[in-house]
């Protein structure tokens, strides 16, 4: 039988609905008090106001909320924030800034790899992860690896072109 007092998920105060959690986001630690129900997505947005990560479906069906957790891409909408204490979380805000674009971000601009821009953070976080994943060289393989990120504007061809520019392939 576990001893509840040893549970690392301790409430801020007795009877409080909030948990005290330290999250590592873009290299910085954030001491937060969060609702256990809060997803990583809502925590990033509502608590930290890191709004680059978007909510499109809230059910793992569109990819707009893609972030990296310990170097791997995940849907932040299906991750409970409190569970990720101690994990290294990377969001779009940690990839580059308007003045210092990551090469992938610059490629997205050059290729017009978006329209409305709403799914773009998720596309870039997936593409950034893809660079380290066992994805084959061809456009078809990139398309398959990117299919967890819907773009309703349909800028798919340009997104693949941008990724292939950075990979040095096409």
């Amino acid at each position: 039988m576990s001893d509840p007092t040893s549970n690392p998920f301790s409430a801020v105060e007795p009877n409080s609905d909030l948990l005290s959690v330290v999250l590592r986001i873009n290299g910085a630690s954030h001491a937060l008090q969060i609702d256990p129900r809060a997803t990583l997505l809502d925590c990033l947005r509502d608590t930290l106001q890191l709004t680059g990560t978007k909510k499109g479906c809230d059910h793992g069906q569109c990819g707009a909320c893609t972030v990296h957790i310990n170097g791997r891409r995940r849907n932040a909408c299906l991750a409970l924030a409190a569970v990720h204490e101690g994990d290294e979380i990377l969001t779009i805000e940690g990839v580059g800034t308007p003045d210092r674009l990551h090469p992938l971000q610059a490629a997205f601009v050059a290729r017009d790899a978006y329209q409305c821009g709403y799914c773009t953070s998720g596309q870039i976080m997936s593409a950034l992860a893809l660079l380290q994943e066992p994805c084959g060289p061809g456009d078809d393989e990139v398309r398959e690896y990117m299919s967890g990120n819907l773009c309703r504007c349909g800028a798919y061809a340009n997104i693949v072109a941008a990724i292939q520019d950075v990979r040095g392939q096409s």
Partner: protein
């Protein structure tokens, strides 16, 4: 990848119009720094989650919010009676400033009658999203339930003639070949990845809305009327919009609801719709049934065209899908009759979805043309070429610029159409059966009334402002291009302000009209700013142009020049500095053509042709769209990089329309049951074919000085028909109900 993937080059100022130009707002979009409506947070802000009806017909008998109200963080469970009734906005299309247009007229909480599934019956407001959502789930609503009518078989209340010439029936009597077929389309849901969001904040009696809208001015006016406020007390901001495809054109009920909640509770309120709600309460393209009758001579000349269609609409609102928009002008025929009707169902109010009317209409017409070609034993490109009209026979006026035949010829060449074996299933590659199909597209070319202002500043930069929106089409960029070209500046010296009702009134971003609407007001604003600068320079006591008379000077490419003589031109920044003026402004305005009174003197439309190759593997019933060629005649293309993206995106959406997209209403409770992005299937990266997009560039100056029409919607028109025509060529199966599913092909 096709050749269309050559890397874009940064435009120099002199050729900034018509060259591929990366977006000026691109760096904000790729870094997550662009702030969309839902990205704003205010101190003390509350979160609202609507409670939607779980019936589609009946009435509310009780709302038990006892449990919900006691939950942690809950501020209120609002319902009918929680705040004074909201007013009803009336239609007003009199000017850019007073526009008031909406599709769902009933204000939220107006009565206890439920007319569609998901209609808002209560609103939970709490300190956090988690709390508000849990509270909304805990509200218990009792209903007197009636059986809803969501019957997909549509019978019109009455049919109205939309266009008629000659004698359509007599035209069939004399035809050698006739076609009479019915085509149905499932309801489609727009599904922009950004769901609708409103952040409402009151300061005294003034309201600000951070809103997902394709029209800030229109949204302001509608919400002001519903809240009983003068329009100037409402500010609507939409600087970045996660697209809309039409479902953010007109205000929906969540927005005044959020505003009323914020007023009632005295705190800012944020309301973001769930994905499921966007299937219920913010419009959709309704189910449409169409009948196409064509008659032709043995050599393929049309003798008669009939196009009759019915769309579903909601109980209270009469949304009409104008499917016959393109039919009267697409082909030459002496006899034609187009009729339309609506059928009321217990569904949310439909609304414009990308290419409303023409997109479903051309699916039917272009399917019928393909069937006619088969019946005639004629090549479908040839059939279309043979029926080219010399004027718009519907309006009886000439076209401003029509190059449809060239679209067909250039497309056929780029696609390799001459190698097409017309026999069904005769073409193969790598063990797959190939199908090649073609279809035409057309879309209106109009403009809205708009204003704009331009500031020239002493640091050599300029600012252009208009209360228009960038919905993803590239409006920020094209506005910067227009000003840059006039001032001879690179676009990075142009600041663009849009998406705010405090700016000069601009139009909705819809109908593919934004770009065309902006040209005249922006050109005039630049010219007026230049004229003001000349006047100031001439009037100055001791400045570079003191003593000159304004009529001796010109303002060209950002410089004041003398009309005669060798005097050195001087840039506006230098002049401003010399005058000690930080900036000088000019404003401009342009008139609208869309729905303007009186009979038009020219017919303004864009045209195009799509060629599609599908692959079919009968052993696994696997159907794929492999490659497409789209040739588009949309006037001068101001930014080919963004324009090509619009057409490619439309083709991708067209694949969804043809093969995947269907909102399924459950006959028992009237719910759109597949209200998610897993169950409403849209195209993924892996579904995108190899796409070749080519623009014929014939400037159409009937609409604006730059000769631009618009490209946001035309690419979706015709795509589904080209796909289903290709499927017929591969399989011999003619599917006349979208979406086409693999089981249709398995017989």
């Amino acid at each position: 990848m096709s050749a269309s993937h050559s890397a874009p080059t940064q435009a120099s100022p002199m050729n900034v119009i018509g060259r591929p130009h990366p977006r000026v707002d691109g760096a904000l979009k790729v870094t997550g720094a662009a702030r969309y409506a839902g990205d704003h947070y205010l101190p003390g802000m509350l979160y609202a989650v609507p409670v939607g009806a779980t019936i589609a017909k009946g009435s509310i008998t009780a709302i038990d919010a006892g449990v919900a109200e006691q939950m942690p963080g809950v501020r209120a469970i609002l319902r009918r009676g929680s705040f004074p009734p909201l007013g009803r906005a009336e239609l007003d299309m009199s000017s850019a400033d007073t526009t008031s247009i909406l599709d769902e007229f009933r204000p939220p909480f107006d009565d206890d009658v439920v007319r569609y599934y998901g209609q808002y019956v209560a609103l939970a407001v709490a300190d956090s999203f988690e709390q508000a959502k849990a509270a909304a789930d805990a509200v218990r609503v009792s209903y007197a339930v009636e059986i809803p009518d969501v019957d997909p078989a549509l019978v019109a209340e009455k049919m109205t003639v939309k266009s008629e010439r000659g004698d359509a029936e007599a035209g069939f009597a004399g035809a050698a070949v006739t076609i009479d077929q019915r085509y149905a389309m499932a309801p489609e849901t727009h599904n922009p990845i950004e769901t609708h969001a409103t952040l409402a904040v009151w300061e005294g009696d003034a309201l600000t809305l951070h809103e997902t809208t394709q029209g800030v001015i229109n949204h302001r006016n509608v919400v002001a009327r519903m809240l009983g406020l003068p329009a100037e007390k409402v500010r609507v901001i939409s600087r970045f919009l996660g697209s809309g495809f039409g479902n953010k054109l007109w205000p929906w009920t969540h927005s005044p609801l959020a505003a009323a909640a914020a007023r009632t509770l005295g705190r800012p309120v944020k309301l973001v719709l769930s994905r499921a709600m966007t299937f219920q309460s913010v419009g959709h393209r309704p189910r449409i049934e169409q009948r196409i009758r064509l008659g032709a001579t043995a050599d393929g000349k049309l003798t008669s065209v009939r196009h009759d269609y019915v769309n579903a609409t909601s109980i209270l609102d009469s949304y009409e899908e104008n499917c016959g928009e393109a039919t009267p002008h697409m082909y030459s025929t002496p006899n034609l009759r187009v009729t339309a009707g609506i059928a009321r169902r217990n569904i949310g109010t439909p609304t414009s979805m990308r290419g409303p009317g023409a997109v479903p209409g051309l699916y039917a017409l272009e399917s019928g043309m393909d069937e006619l070609a088969v019946a005639l034993g004629m090549d479908p490109v040839e059939l279309r070429l043979r029926n080219e009209p010399s004027i718009d026979e519907g309006l009886g006026v000439p076209f401003s610029s029509r190059h449809f035949q060239e679209c067909l010829r250039v497309g056929a060449e780029r696609f390799g159409w001459s190698r097409r074996d017309p026999r069904v299933g005769a073409m193969t590659r790598d063990g797959l059966t190939l199908g090649w199909g073609v279809a035409a597209c057309s879309w209106i070319a109009e403009r809205f009334a708009s204003n704009a202002a331009v500031d020239l500043r002493d640091d050599g930069t300029a600012r252009v402002a208009c209360a228009i929106q960038d919905i993803g089409t590239g409006t920020y960029t094209v506005m910067a291009q227009m000003v840059a070209e006039r001032l001879g500046l690179p676009t990075d010296r142009i600041e663009v302000a849009l998406g705010d009702t405090r700016l000069p009134a601009g139009p909705v971003s819809g109908g593919s009209m934004a770009t065309a609407s902006l040209v005249a007001p922006i050109h005039e604003a630049v010219a007026k700013a230049g004229a003001a600068l000349i006047a100031a320079a001439c009037a100055a006591k001791d400045g570079p142009f003191s003593g000159s008379r304004p009529e001796e000077l010109d303002f060209v490419e950002g410089k004041i020049t003398a009309k005669t003589g060798n005097r050195q031109a001087m840039g506006f920044d230098t002049v401003l500095k010399a005058l000690g003026m930080p900036a000088i402004s000019g404003s401009g305005s342009g008139t609208g053509t869309f729905m303007a009174p009186g009979k038009p003197t020219v017919s303004k439309h864009s045209f195009g042709a799509h060629f599609v190759e599908v692959t079919w593997q009968p052993e696994t019933a696997r159907l794929r769209v492999a490659r497409t060629v789209s040739v588009i005649d949309a006037g001068r293309i101001l930014n080919p990089l963004a324009a090509r993206n619009q057409i490619e995106g439309s083709v991708v959406m067209g694949i969804g329309m043809a093969l995947f997209e269907e909102t399924h209403y459950d006959a028992r409770n009237g719910a759109p049951v597949n209200a998610s992005l897993a169950d409403y299937v849209v195209a993924t990266h892996a579904d995108a074919p190899a796409m070749d997009v080519h623009f014929l560039e014939y400037p159409d100056t009937s609409l604006n000085a730059l000769g631009a029409r618009g490209v946001g919607e035309i690419g979706l028109a015709g795509t589904a028909a080209a796909i289903t025509n290709a499927v017929y060529h591969a399989t011999g199966v003619r599917v006349r109900e979208l979406p086409l599913k693999l089981e249709h092909l398995m017989s």
